[in-house]
């Protein structure tokens, strides 16, 4: 394991006290924490504590308050009411640097790395070695190399600019940077979402080692299997309230989910239709290639089918969807829509009625929505051309359709004129989907549409997609969640290194096959 261990903090507790909620005062305590954003109550009188030498998982739907909780702990925002205490001592943070000075370090979902600066600069950004305000470049480089080795990324050159590293490496640099701060409380917010499987294992190893050293670790994730692997204790949040805290293994998955969404939850996925004959192809992709990122990709999506794209992050799925939507230049191969070869040079061409394509993009905040603009403006953005009379927009007809769409998708808003930034994540995603339904698209591409969305909205989206398919749409659906691939899709294509590794249909769509293909393993038949 690590031979670069730091000396243990003075108050470290050994493994023995890890499990019991014993009489010792909690290392980190939040009492009566309330946070209000304007009229929205993000946290409501929350009491929360975590111990040293443990990995404490925090679970909850989007909007449950997890993000706010850790932002308060990390000093990024201040609570409206309530107290924070560290080792029994009340603390107040004016900003992230105050929290970091106390040893509370947070690794956020949106990385805090500066893309144009070097790895070494990034790792030692907060308190670089040096005197009189100058930076000792050599000492900084040495420290960076140490930390990179500690996270198992010794091959990364500290002088390399962060933006030239792949996403997975960047996340590891982020972790190295957090370790440089010598944390006593380490908070990870969806920190493994961008990692390769190998790196995920490294992170587990690091976290377990840190737990051994006596760190308190807060771990937020939507991935149940991660939590099962790592956590000692779990806390469930719902609607800004701390619902329950329990030791690992004391509750079943179903019970946990019920705690999270607060209601009984039976069917997860809508039923898939059985087909007599193969459906007519709506979209046919033949030997698509693009630079080094897409190689000879061929697949078809039939009318009424939901085809899933699977595989590890970064194998070309995003590029494939962008290429189909006309965003990439220099794409080789053929794309046929309803049997006719087409050349799609821009999203404008792709969405045109004769092609009828739509793309729900990866990052709704920067690619799917115009956050300061109203819900109405956002929903209408892709279909304004359909509601014109001469030069002008027919507002009445457009607004009627928008209201209808809001009802159909059950989007929870105050008023359609509200800025879309005020909506929760799930509702924001519904706005993006509504925007494209307004164009009456016949081929719908989705890039990980349920990432970071609460369980309830996910369900609604699955129902919606199946409904659209049953009405004749062809759906190509990339997701990182293999549960969804199994539950939603009629057929699944797993991508690896820019090509389709394997296409699965019917009973072959199993977790085993999906994971194996994703990892480029050929399972023996019948194994």
């Amino acid at each position: 394991m690590n031979d670069l261990q730091r000396p243990l903090p003075a108050q470290a507790t050994g493994p023995a006290t890890r499990q019991a909620p014993g009489p010792a005062p909690a290392f980190w305590q939040m009492r009566g924490i309330t946070k209000r954003y304007g009229g929205v109550l993000a946290l409501d009188g929350v009491d929360f504590a975590c111990r040293q030498g443990s990995i404490h998982a925090v679970l909850g739907e989007n909007g449950a308050g997890k993000s706010t909780l850790i932002k308060i702990a990390a000093g990024v925002v201040a609570p409206t009411a309530g107290t924070l205490s560290l080792e029994g001592r009340t603390v107040r943070f004016g900003g992230p640097q105050d929290a970091q000075a106390e040893g509370i370090v947070c690794i956020f979902q949106e990385l805090s790395l500066l893309p144009d600066l070097s790895v070494a600069d990034n790792i030692c950004m907060t308190a670089p070695p040096g005197r009189f305000g100058f930076i000792d470049a050599r000492a900084q480089r040495r420290r960076a190399e140490e930390l990179l080795a500690r996270v198992g990324c010794a091959e990364v050159n500290p002088l390399e600019r962060v933006k030239n590293l792949p996403l997975s490496r960047r996340q590891m640099v982020e972790i190295a940077k957090a370790l440089d701060r010598r944390p006593r409380l380490l908070i990870l917010d969806e920190a493994t979402s961008a990692l390769t499987a190998a790196d995920v294992e490294k992170v587990y190893g690091i976290l377990r080692a840190l737990r051994q050293e006596g760190l308190a670790i807060l771990y937020i994730s939507h991935r149940m299997h991660e939590i099962e692997q790592l956590a000692d204790t779990c806390s469930v949040f719902r609607n800004g309230r701390h619902i329950e805290t329990f030791a690992k293994g004391s509750k079943s998955d179903n019970e946990i989910v019920r705690l999270m969404i607060g209601r009984e939850y039976t069917q997860v996925y809508p039923p898939k239709p059985t087909r007599a004959a193969p459906p007519t192809p709506a979209l046919a992709v033949k030997r698509l290639s693009w630079g080094s990122r897409l190689k000879d990709v061929s697949l078809t999506v039939g009318k009424g089918e939901i085809v899933g794209l699977g595989g590890l992050d970064g194998q070309g799925q995003r590029e494939l969807l962008l290429a189909l939507f006309g965003v990439l230049r220099g794409v080789g191969g053929t794309v046929e829509i309803e049997g006719r070869p087409v050349k799609l040079r821009s999203p404008g061409t792709a969405k045109a009625p004769r092609h009828g394509m739509a793309l729900i993009p990866e990052d709704r905040k920067s690619e799917g929505l115009l956050l300061p603009m109203s819900v109405r403006d956002n929903i209408s953005m892709a279909s304004i051309g359909r509601f014109t009379r001469g030069l002008f927009i027919d507002r009445r007809r457009q607004d009627a359709r928008i209201d209808e769409m809001i009802r159909r998708l059950a989007i929870k808003i105050g008023d359609p004129g509200d800025p879309v930034a005020t909506l929760s994540g799930g509702n924001q995603q519904k706005v993006v989907i509504a925007k494209w339904l307004m164009t009456e698209a016949r081929i719908i591409l989705l890039n990980d549409p349920t990432r970071g969305i609460d369980v309830g909205t996910k369900q609604e989206i699955y129902q919606l997609l199946r409904g659209l398919a049953d009405a004749g749409a062809a759906i190509l659906f990339y997701t990182t969640d293999y549960d969804e691939l199994i539950g939603c899709c009629d057929r699944v294509s797993i991508m690896y290194a820019g090509g389709i590794k394997r296409a699965l249909t019917g009973p072959d769509i199993t977790e085993e096959n999906i994971v194996a293909s994703a990892l480029n393993i050929d399972l023996k038949a019948g194994a």
Binding site: V76, G95, P96, Q97, Q100, F108, E110, L111, S112, L113, L114, P115, D116, L117, D121, N122, M125, T126, A127, P128, G130, G133, F134, I135, A137, E145, A149, A154, E155, V156, N157, P158, L159, E160, R161, K177, W290, G291, E319, L322, V327, L328, R329, G330, S346, E367
Partner: protein
């Protein structure tokens, strides 16, 4: 094991990262050689000194512009601070040696103060740099007019002669030595300081910089203040070159425009976070040499402004146009 072959890989990385500046150096050397080759007098002291004096003026203003650009901002008042400090210098940098020394200090402080005002409005007032510096530029121009309603004034003749001629026995123009001194005493220490690196961080990603505990306000303020200081150095030098002060709006405007062009040509990104003052210096040298080349190749004077404009446009377009390198159109939008 550690990263492949230590220093070799390091140098390759470093060279790759300074590509923009290195190209600027190469282009400048090529153009300057062309100029000297075609000049009737050739590589003589007067030719080189005159070229150096003019080039260093723009180089200093370009260095000044580089700092706010690194933070992702811009300083449209830099030309006016240049003019204002020129007018101030023509008023107070003369007389007894102690008066001259004090005058120089005052001029530099005035430049720094102007920069500080810019920075304070941007940081504490939270106004956008473009409109802020557009407005403060008017203020500094007004002050220049107050100091010098008509062109005139004076400056210590011995010092002026010294600064505009050569040292080391008629080999190196003093202007270049001044530039080198500024680079060594101001730019390099700044770049290696926490505050300086903070500027790069802020330009790269302000949100991430905040999360990383970078002192954003302090870095920005330092960038704008230093920009004012460097513009003040340039204004002082202008006084030595012209022996007078003139509150000229066209000169201020031209220097601002050219400083931005020099920054772009020198490889610094207008979006912030990457680049440096050394590239801007050579960007400035290139722009000046273009002017000189036009003169040497006997381009009719009527055509010169058009030619300069087209070349400027072409140079910044080449430097900044990203469209040809990008294969994913989504990357064109930031």
């Amino acid at each position: 094991m550690s990263a492949p072959s230590g220093t070799l890989a390091d140098w390759r990385l470093r060279l790759g990262q300074s590509q923009g500046a290195l190209i600027a150096v190469a282009v400048f050397l090529a153009m300057f050689s062309l100029y000297i080759a075609n000049h009737p007098a050739g590589l003589t002291v007067p030719v080189v000194t005159t070229a150096a004096n003019k080039a260093v003026l723009l180089a200093l203003v370009a260095m000044a512009q580089t700092l706010p650009v690194l933070t992702g901002g811009l300083d449209l008042s830099v030309g006016m601070v240049f003019v204002m400090t020129n007018c101030l210098a023509s008023t107070i940098v003369s007389g007894e040696p102690w008066q001259v020394a004090l005058g120089i200090v005052a001029v530099l402080l005035a430049g720094a103060a102007a920069g500080f005002v810019n920075g304070a409005i941007v940081v504490y007032g939270r106004l956008q740099p473009i409109i802020t510096t557009l407005a403060t530029g008017a203020i500094y121009y007004g002050i220049a007019l107050l100091l010098r309603p008509v062109p005139g004034g004076d400056v210590d003749p011995d010092l002026a002669d010294f600064m505009t001629y050569t040292v080391f026995g008629e080999t190196v123009p003093t202007a270049l030595v001044l530039l080198l001194a500024v680079v060594i005493l101001i730019w390099l220490p700044f770049r290696n300081s926490v505050v300086g690196r903070g500027c790069y961080a802020v330009g790269s990603s302000e949100g991430a910089a905040y999360m990383s505990g970078v002192a954003i306000g302090r870095s920005r303020l330092a960038a704008y203040t230093l920009a004012g200081l460097l513009a003040g150095v340039a204004g002082l030098m202008l006084t030595f070159v012209t022996f007078s002060g003139e509150a000229s709006a066209p000169i201020g405007g031209t220097y601002t425009l050219n400083s931005i062009a020099a920054v772009v040509i020198g490889g610094t990104s207008l979006y912030g976070g990457a680049g440096g003052a050394i590239g801007s210096i050579f960007g400035a040298f290139i722009l000046r040499t273009i002017d000189d080349l036009l003169f040497v190749f006997d381009l009719p004077p009527l055509w010169q402004p058009l030619f300069q404009g087209v070349v400027l446009l072409g140079a910044v377009s080449l430097g900044a146009a990203r469209v040809f390198r990008v294969k994913n159109r989504l990357e064109l939008f930031n």
